[in-house]
Amino acid sequence: MIQNTRDETLGRAADLATRWSFMMPSIILLLVTLAYPIFYTIDISFSTFDITTFGAGEWVGWANYEEVLNDYRFWDALKVTLVYLVIALPLQVTLGFAIAFLINAEWTGRGMVRALFIIPMVVAPVVAGGIWRMILDPLWGLMNYALQSISIGPLDWFGDPNLAMAAVIIIDTWRWTPFIVLIATAALLALPKDVFEAAKIDGANWWATLWSIALPLLIPIITATFVIRWLGAVKMFDIVLAATYGGPGKATNVLNLFIYEEAFRSLRFAESSAMAVIVLVLTMVLTGIFLYGSRKLEKRF
């Protein structure tokens, strides 16, 4: 009897060891690549930055945060980021699903168009920024040439603050809408066909089918896409870097570019770490609120 329980304890220990040994590699990998940088950043954000050890120096508490929050440039960058998010995200998601809905219909050449849609995603963001810089060039860019033929312009895409923001959003939309089209196409294909046939027999027209059947069925996918895109958009950096470098003035200076500038140009690592932590917390809170809201929305349908 006693022998039995001892065997059992041993067996359980061996089982536990096996489990942990299987999990260990990924745990270590996650700790090294994810947890360490985060804690390193948090550590620096509460300290002075010691350039000789390239690590945290003296503990200064909330001082870095105070300085950041009192810096009008931080608030400006935050505002620019929010403007970009509020315009770009709904635009991309709406456009993505609309295009998917259209190219989902049976027509010749559909496969070709689908293939073409992949291209923007595989172009490196910096290259995309460069290409669009040329397209939007005020003097010899294609865009102004095209606009001129319908008597608009010439527009100073990178000189005017509002137009520069528009340019960034256009480039970002060009790059990311295909990704949403791809997800939306898969979602549309996965929708049950017979429900739409039932709607057809029930007399639903195109609009009713879209509004009363397709959209409610797509709500979970739309919200999921929104979250994925939102998490990507918060990190917006590369396109701005290549296309406008935050200009003109600070009109397109998104937070990440500002953080990058502060850290690696002005060498104010402690303050930029504080900003990075603020962005992290803000993102987490907003994502939480968004997920909560979307779950509510899903329940309504």
Partner: protein, 361 residues
């Protein structure tokens, strides 16, 4: 008027023709079952009546109107789908009222019609539930309710019971039959289950390979199958087939040399034929076709015996109980009226000796 007239209808997908000219007239109030193996074109035909598939050639007439190019919603039909096709985000009430809302029917009338359909189907207590909170049988009932509410001229059912378990299927089968008797609406019902077709329909249409093999009242098909295919398809357990060559007008020589005396005397000698006998029409006797018993399966009310006649397997259904044992040789006789003879033309063998009808005439 709920008549449906299908006139020489063909359907092709690209170069592949799946319906090769089907003609069928359905009377007002009639319950017609389209039955056949998968791929025989029965669902395609139903979907063409519904307007979900184009008509390649021929005409489909509902009432007195050719509907080939009429949109599904304007055909005044209602369809019940195999997977129910309920709108998952709407509750039962909204599911049933959707079609009426699309037609801008006044709210109180929608309410009335949904409630009365719910009453007929016993769904009153489920009206506020979403489809996912319903059992399979309840979903099926909601799908039928959605059809009833529209008060259509024709009901179309596309294998509505195949997703239900056996017990529920039998129950829903009687509910559908009761519903039809109560409403008297023309019904076209597609199924691959011959029992469903036999029990429900006024007329059974057996399809195979894109053509109608035979149509008629259920028992007519059972008694007088026009072809070997229909004979094999209708009836459970299926009809036995014994192949051989006729020698001297009333005897059959099987491939292994066994000779069977036939109860008829008018067959052309030296022709290849297939003899068809339903399991329930065999009788045990002291003289007759010798068969070696291999399996005996008693079910209480009847006993199924599997035996071999000259190397060919036959199933025999005996009412009540029997004390036959495996390995034993039994003798089987069949009254002449129950012997079907098909010419030897593959699965489409045509009945040449029609005897069954006399028995019931």
């Amino acid at each position: 008027m709920g008549t449906v007239d299908i006139r020489n209808v063909r359907k092709s997908y690209g170069n592949v023709e799946v319906l090769h000219g089907v003609s069928l007239h359905i009377e007002d109030g009639e319950f017609v079952a389209l039955v056949g193996p998968s791929g025989c074109g029965k669902s395609t035909l139903l979907r063409m009546i519904a307007g979900l598939e184009d008509v390649t050639a021929g005409d489909i007439v509902i009432g007195d109107r050719v509907v080939n190019h009429v949109a599904p919603k304007d055909r005044n039909i209602a369809m019940v789908f195999q997977n129910y096709a309920l709108y998952p985000h709407m509750n039962v009430r909204d599911n049933m009222g959707f079609a009426l809302r699309q037609r801008r029917t006044p709210k109180p009338e929608i309410e009335n019609r949904v409630n009365s359909a719910a009453r007929i189907l016993g769904l009153e207590h489920l009206l506020d539930r979403k489809p996912r909170a319903l059992s399979g049988g309840q979903r099926q009932r909601v799908a039928m309710g959605r059809a009833i509410v529209r008060e259509p001229n024709v009901f179309l059912f596309d294998e509505p019971l195949s997703n239900l378990d056996a017990k529920l299927r039998v129950q829903m089968r009687s509910e559908i039959k009761e519903l039809h008797q109560r409403l008297g609406t023309t019904t076209v019902y597609v199924t691959h289950d011959q029992i469903e077709a036999m029990t429900l329909a006024d007329r059974v249409v057996v399809m195979n390979g894109g053509v109608i093999e035979q149509q008629g009242p259920p028992l007519e098909l059972y008694d007088n199958p026009a072809s070997r295919f229909v004979a094999a398809f209708i009836g459970s357990p299926p009809m036995n087939f014994i192949e051989g060559t006729v020698i001297d007008a009333s005897a059959l020589c099987l491939d292994d040399g066994t000779k069977l005396q036939l109860p008829m005397t008018d067959l052309a000698s030296q022709t290849r034929v297939t003899i068809g006998v339903r399991p329930e029409h065999f009788e045990l006797s002291s003289a007759g076709w010798p068969a070696t018993v291999s399996i005996v399966e008693p079910t209480g009310s009847e006993t199924q015996i599997t035996a071999r006649i000259g190397g060919q397997i036959v199933r025999v259904l005996i009412r009540g109980r029997t004390f036959v044992r495996p390995g034993e040789v039994i003798h089987l006789t069949v009254p002449a009226d129950f012997v079907h003879i098909f010419d030897d033309d593959g699965a489409h063998g045509i009945q040449v000796g029609t005897r069954g009808a006399k028995k019931y005439a």
